[in-house]
């Protein structure tokens, strides 16, 4: 497929890897955070981690909307469906997120709740129009990439006066989360790792552009390279970060220039600001309460805001005691450091959110990398030892 296959060429990847290996300084260690789950997935799936020199470490960031969605928000949706007979529509990603009382949306569905998986926000609004006798709530999650479609359906629901449709808004913002990782006192207390640069979001940046990161690169002296999700993009992005670190530079560079412009998609931004406003604070799994890091629906659209319509009150719920998702989301721990990883917590029955989405650090490591760290046993050597015994 055009614009995909040519960005997955193995020979080119090996050449970029050789370039990275030639340019890194042996006495310097490079820790780069890829913010997005899309990058985490690409790094695991295409074996990029294995192509990097040992002193270049990739830290998986919190850019997976499913992974940072706190239990309490899922509980709100489950209670709407189970206790109030609402039809919940949501993206497939959220279906298996573990919630309170050993429930998830998919388990609630098995108990008889009307929960529908939709491909698009548009499908949720269509369902509401097809079932005028039912209350239909769209559980909307995602970063700036996914927010404009939700804004469009809210605009359309108001224009067409679809009164039985509303949105439970859990949309979060990328730049504020990146800033929070670097400066928040709480996060510092919980522990963070030194980060030398960021692989910047790909599809989020199509919408918001490259400008929002500029202030951040300048203020915190951290290089940012906006990078596509294909493996060659990621390799090239890492090479560009290595070059910035070597040169002592900290600027925003754009590797994904085929889709990202400095100003982004202005039509989408305008629409989002007409429908949404900043939320004072929002709880992120792993990061805690992050000020001005999420969106809520403007009062003009109150009739389509599920939180107002059903008078929902958010309650924070702590994670499973032994789950290390919080530390993994901040890059302090690696998936294999968690006691639950691969034993009771697997993609088939996830305990923590990082195991749910295939973009989560744990799920990506489980699917593509869990045998990489296992010590190699020389079969011949093992045979000799056993004979000697």
């Amino acid at each position: 497929m055009k614009y995909i296959d040519e960005f997955r060429d193995g020979d080119s990847a090996r050449r970029i890897a050789a370039k990275i290996a030639a340019e890194v300084r042996p006495d310097t260690s490079y820790s780069f955070m890829e913010f997005c789950g899309g990058h985490t997935h690409a790094i695991s799936r295409y074996g990029i981690a294995g192509m990097l020199p040992p002193n270049v470490r990739m830290i998986h960031g919190p850019g997976c909307p499913v992974c940072v969605l706190p239990i309490g928000r899922i509980d709100l949706a489950i209670s709407l469906a189970l206790d109030r007979g609402v039809m919940i529509c949501t993206y497939g990603d959220t279906m298996r997120v573990p919630a309170s009382d050993s429930l998830s949306l998919i388990k609630a569905k098995a108990r008889g709740a009307d929960i529908r998986m939709v491909y698009s926000a548009h499908d949720a609004l269509t369902l509401a129009e097809q079932h005028p006798d039912r209350e239909v709530v769209f559980l909307a999650i995602g970063f700036e990439t996914t927010t404009p479609p939700t804004a469009l359906v809210l605009r359309d629901a108001k224009a067409r006066d679809v009164r039985n449709f509303s949105v439970l808004c859990c949309h979060v913002l990328t730049p504020s989360a990146i800033t929070h990782i670097l400066e928040s006192a709480e996060v510092r207390q919980l522990g963070t790792v030194p980060i030398d640069g960021f692989i910047g979001p790909a599809h989020v940046s199509i919408v918001i552009g490259s400008q929002p990161y500029e202030h951040f690169a300048e203020e915190y002296r951290k290089p940012v390279v906006i990078t596509g999700f294909e493996p060659l993009d990621v390799m090239q992005g890492i090479l560009m970060l290595v070059r910035q670190v070597n040169a002592g530079r900290a600027v925003v560079e754009n590797e994904f220039s085929r889709a990202v412009t400095p100003e982004g998609n202005l039509a989408a931004q305008k629409l989002v600001s007409q429908v949404f406003e900043l939320r004072e604070s929002f709880e992120w799994r792993g990061l805690g309460e992050v000020p001005y890091s999420a969106l809520k629906i403007r009062p003009e659209f109150a009739a389509w805001d599920a939180e107002r319509k059903f008078e929902l009150h958010y309650t924070s719920v702590p994670d499973h005691k032994q789950c290390e998702c919080g530390a993994i989301l901040r890059g302090v721990k690696r998936p294999a450091d968690c006691k639950l990883f691969g034993t009771v917590c697997t993609p088939e029955s996830p305990m923590g959110s990082c195991m749910v989405s295939n973009e989560g650090a744990c799920a990506a490591h489980y699917s593509y990398g869990r045998f990489r760290d296992v010590a190699r046993v020389d079969i011949a050597q093992a045979a000799i030892t056993s004979i000697a015994k």
Binding site: Y3, D9, H122, L152, L232, R258
Partner: protein, 86 residues
Amino acid sequence: MCLALPARVVELLPKLRAIVDLGGVRKEVSIDLVDDAQTDDYVIVHVGYAIGKIDPEEAQRTLALFAELSAAQNTLQPSQNMREML
């Protein structure tokens, strides 16, 4: 979650909708957020909405950057071999 794929616009439909082709698979999507999309443009499709367009020239430039790397590598090769010979 932010998964999105480049797809070619094959037909513009009324109400800012369009048929796109993704490696032979055809799907109807909304072009409300990219209302200047034309037939044969490549748009980036996310949850049934085109959120941006691919700039073919920029894509070519990025690919050329990878190719330059390989050209540089090839010119490097003989000198490396020379060093080995020495």
